[in-house]
């Protein structure tokens, strides 16, 4: 009984944080299901792929793999490149996911952009269990995504209302989270480094190849800054 209360409380606290994702994922998931439907795949494909892969943009690319020649090594290596940004999420969540017990493997498995964003930034109330909160954020997001993908896969061809532009809900959410980070920090070094180097990398390398150089640049600059700060501290304590 006590245990159920803890879970229910965490679910109630988690749900409002996932509302933008409910809108975004149902829509994007449906887009993905319709895309698969148009390519000639049964809804079983988006169902299984959205459950097992659970990485939005990657699932669109995976559909292309399925249509091309059989080359699992290429599929694997391209996945590593496209999803490399998750490495940064993992490093950021090492502490937060600590002590979440059996929920931890699922939290890591389900760490898509959106789940990471909420779990990394949400201010979880003191009396709510953090592990269950993050678990439900991740689970709800995956339920939205899978539901959208299946709905799109089954009913794709019957849907006719003007949803053009609805996908902007995800961009808007990341902008808001970025603003929250900005408003909370005293210096805006990290924010500016992330934004500036990504723009620079996008201009130089283009849409398909900018993430890895951007990550390398961000990593290098943050490392140098950390080293110089560490140096200052060492001098001070001396």
């Amino acid at each position: 009984m006590q245990k159920d209360n803890v879970k229910l409380k965490a679910l109630k606290a988690a749900f409002p944080h996932t509302i933008p994702i409910l809108a975004g994922f149902l829509f994007l998931g449906m887009t993905y299901g319709i895309y698969m439907n148009v390519l000639g795949f049964s809804f079983i494909y988006p169902l299984i792929m959205s459950i097992t892969i659970f990485a939005g943009s990657m699932e669109f690319v995976a559909a292309e793999f399925l249509l091309g020649a059989f080359d699992p090594i290429k599929a694997f290596l391209m996945t590593l490149m496209i999803n490399a940004r998750h490495l940064f999420y993992g490093i950021s969540m090492l502490d937060k996911y600590r002590g979440t017990g059996l929920k931890k493997p699922y939290l890591i498995f389900g760490m898509c952009d959106e789940s990471f964003s909420i779990n990394c930034t949400a201010e979880i109330p003191e009396d709510v269990d953090k592990g269950w909160f993050m678990f439900f954020v991740t689970l709800l997001n995956q339920i939205y995504w899978v539901s959208g993908a299946v709905l799109g896969g089954v009913f794709g061809s019957f849907i006719h209302f003007n949803t053009e532009g609805l996908d902007f809900v995800m961009t808007a959410m990341f902008v808001v989270i970025f603003l929250e980070q900005w408003l909370k920090s005293s210096d805006h070094k990290s924010e500016l480094i992330g934004l500036g180097l990504s723009v620079l990398s996008l201009i130089i390398f283009g849409a398909d190849g900018f993430i890895i150089p951007a990550m390398a640049g961000i990593f290098a600059v943050l490392t140098l800054m950390g080293a110089s700060e560490g140096h200052k501290k060492a001098v001070k304590s001396f």
């Binding site: 694997f76 490399a84 490093i91 532009g165 961009t171 996008l202």
Partner: protein, 108 residues
């Protein structure tokens, strides 16, 4: 492609995704002390990552032709103003999305 080949292909994508998500946790297990440098990165990375994610969302916007990214820039400005003014996450997200949908469906 046969069904077996399809399963292997999807498996390769699942494996790749799981590796990118779990690698930091495998290298720095909870039981051991995480190096100070990684702790530092864990602190300073998120704000930079969200900057990167915003750009990631805009990566396919063509700023040189067509609408020159005007709907995106106007909607982001609206999100920013709404958020600084009211600081209500859902309001900022919904407001910006509605403005964006209006812009791309009617004006651009």
């Amino acid at each position: 492609m046969t069904v077996a080949q399809q399963i292997i292909t999807i498996g390769a994508v699942v494996l790749g995704t799981v590796i990118t998500r779990s690698l930091p946790f495998l290298i720095f297990p909870a039981g051991k002390e995480t190096p100070d440098f990684i702790k530092y990165l864990g602190r300073v990375l998120p704000p930079a990552v969200f900057g990167m994610l915003v750009i990631y969302c805009l990566r396919n916007v063509d700023f040189l032709s067509g609408s020159h990214g005007a709907p995106e820039l106007i909607a982001i400005a609206a999100v920013t103003l709404l958020h600084v003014w009211k600081r209500q996450m859902l309001l900022s997200i919904a407001g910006g999305t509605i403005i964006y949908m209006f812009l791309v469906q009617t004006l651009f």
